[in-house]
Symmetry: D2
Subunit: 271 residues, 4 copies
């Protein structure tokens, strides 16, 4: 079938614009920030630091899908308000997850880009509704989604008329237990062959261990990713979620120093 | 954590009532019917035949989650209306999938039991909303959900005050390619140990091949399942979805003949 | 390709004879015994008890493949000698694992049936050499072997002229963590369709938890297995390997009581 | 347990010497050559070309483990003889697979390094015997082996006194079907943390598609691999095995041009 997502001969990668940031062009894009928005101070300090170090977009979750109903599920509207304030202060475009089609308008007041999380990759209601908005979408891969199913999920958005879709590899579920998930690095060049959509890598969820984030991030760049999404927290030990996979400021600085040379080695740039 | 779903010492299996049907008691329950409602005639002929052969509940999809946005996605409201008519005619309680929280009321007008499909096992919006309804829920296992994640998904429903939840094993995704999914038969006794909720098996999706449905259905009964959900179609070759895993009337009759003795062998009954 | 292993139309299941025991006929065969032979007393008490309760073959490992080189790797030749003595005393035919082609003769002095373990399912040297012996072989499925690869592994043996091969499902490796492996119950009827070889189930390795062994064993019978291989130990808590998945005598007795009715329900018998 | 394989604080990576080639030092090592040795001409032309382009070791299979007993299983001793001649002509050290402990001496006459294939990662006989030889060993990861099991497999070799072990990631088996296997890129930095052994990547088996080999190879370098093993064939379309994942000379040349800059970007060199 001739999907909208398919790359035809010679077709260039689609560029997705999020504020002033262009995803899919020669410049790599680094999105950084905490897993969950915990407080104004936490998000502000993180935003300023990642911006100083070269990140050009901010991430931060207000609505958090959690395995247990009794876990911290994000600060919701309060979180969105904090995100709005930090965005105004720093000028960083922001991406945040939307889990419920009924929240789309509210989230759209703040978010420059919607994130669709792994658990919702086949939530067709949500895909269809964000498809109608024309707002850029970061579509994470489902935990056990094949490449084909993932492309079809993107097609749900594209077929509603929204062509601003970025695919984000974040690890799949395998028999492995040492890491939280198994990063499918080959998905990056595979998607580049099969589709014209930009492709991101999230090595934080992909590995689940902060010490492995940097080498896997570099691998993603070398494999052709258009950008990275990295979890950064001022004090990972105290994070309300995903602390063990979050970089502190020092480690994020080290990563950013190493990203540039690898980007250049594969013909890309970074600010 | 002391989950509502957990079985405490000596606690009996919760019984879930769907119309006159009791799930979780000594009698096994067989739910049968087509994957998708295609027409009044298709659903009527199937319903009459499966009822005659011992099924006590009818299944039939009006809203179908499909990998591709271009596949047949069910007849929607027209399908619900057909379902309503056949239910009135036969007296069979019906179960049908709800995919979108905004459809709950409409589906609830017809459905005696909501089905939450695999793709939506962690659609927390949907779980929460069906939790508020108090209507029985058949919660299918996610494609790559662990036992623990599945129990937590049930907990999302239970914690809203709805205790009428049935867990339905339908196969998980593994490296295997001969069958559509890999039936995790051990999940049945494992869930029986861990929770007090009734457990069903769907060998149709579990195997994806009609010739394997009957032996796996019998295995489920032997392993302690409280019931079966079986796809039946008057002419599987012509089915709009899942034809290759649907039993025709003759094969369903053969299955029903074989279910009784196995049920008795493990101390259960079937009508 | 026309494999020797393939079932042609109407072809009957091959019967494999191990001493007086016939595998693949109307009577189900239960092989029981400890994971590893630990002492004369341990094996003798287990053999007498399982024989009394209806097992017609004895298992016991002398050479044990272990993940770590520093784990207990079996008693080797001493173990074989004990096995030989208990076999003489009880008259039970015995099956034991051979891991090394150079041990085949030595093992053949005692074993009525060779076991090829999961790790060696594609050890082609070993398959070829046991193929040359004409001695019955119990071929366990590799941890991540597809149905097709497993049949080809059998073909390595069959193509050497040894037609006495029994396939033994013992669980595959998946993302699941609650059980040691995931029993692929559907493999049983699938192999019955595809091949004419008898099929066994080992629910002990398949589940890794003794409390789940019995329901899964019954499921295997209902699905059409020709027999079971069950780990039994006089004192599972003290076992040198696999204690957590071994049945004690009382639980094995309970299993044997439950096997008969299920066997009868699917048209099979048990002694 | 204090394994020999474990990296202690500050411990440097072990260097493995294969002829004049040093694996585990600052210089990356590229091993290239055909999957199977098919003829003198095929191996010679490949060896000369890969040598010219910067490979410093030659691979080529004489004994091929094949899923089906009826597939081409390598040229055996004839293959070894060809390998010996090409080695003499080019001066390239060679690595070739040993599948059977009884072949070790014969293979050792030619091979500078033994390869243990995925299917034999837990063939403890073979591991123990190559451990006794003190010859360098390239130990490929089993198809479904955890990181821990793989390290233990290395320990079987190390504990026999052979400390010349290189671990080679070659993809694991997952639910994915687009690629032959799923390259576990994170295994590279994980093994670097956990062990002091050099780590290689085989992107040919890892991906199964030649067009994906180069980007994944670069990813491996960026992630910290000490070298690459690449399948190269003069005419992949005519290869007797693995043609679809073999690079032709032109594509191998392109890869080698791209490897240098990425190596430099992560502080490594390549000849």
């Amino acid at each position: 079938m001739n999907l909208i997502a398919r790359r035809n001969n010679e077709q260039e990668t689609t560029t997705v614009r999020v504020g002033d940031v262009i995803i899919g062009g020669p410049q790599l894009v680094v999105i950084a920030g905490p897993c969950a928005i915990e407080s104004y101070e936490q998000l502000l300090s993180t935003a300023l630091e990642v911006q100083r170090l070269g990140a050009t977009m901010l991430r931060g979750g207000a609505y958090k899908p959690r395995t247990s109903p009794y876990s911290f599920r994000g600060k919701g509207e309060t979180g969105l308000e904090i995100l709005s304030q930090i965005k105004a202060l720093t000028g960083l475009p922001v991406v945040t997850e939307v889990m419920d089609a009924r929240d789309i308008e509210r989230v759209a007041d703040v978010a420059d880009m919607f994130q669709i999380g792994s658990r919702n990759m086949q939530n067709y209601t949500l895909l269809t509704e964000v498809g109608k908005t024309k707002r850029p979408v970061l579509l994470k891969r489902g935990l056990a989604a094949t490449i084909e199913e993932w492309i079809y999920a993107a097609e749900y958005i594209l077929s509603e008329g929204n062509d601003q879709v970025v695919l984000c590899e974040r690890g799949i579920r395998t028999f492995g237990t040492y890491t939280r998930n198994t990063v499918d690095i080959t998905a990056i060049p595979a998607l580049k062959e099969l589709t014209h959509l930009p492709v991101f890598l999230d090595p934080s969820h992909g590995t689940g261990r902060w010490s492995l984030v940097s080498p896997v991030a570099l691998a993603g760049i070398a494999a052709g990713a258009d950008g990275l999404m990295i979890e950064v927290h001022p004090q990972p030990d105290l994070a309300l979620s995903d602390g063990e996979q979050s970089l502190n400021f020092e480690h994020f600085a080290q990563l950013m120093e190493r990203v540039g040379p690898v980007a250049n080695a594969v013909g890309r740039e970074i600010i």
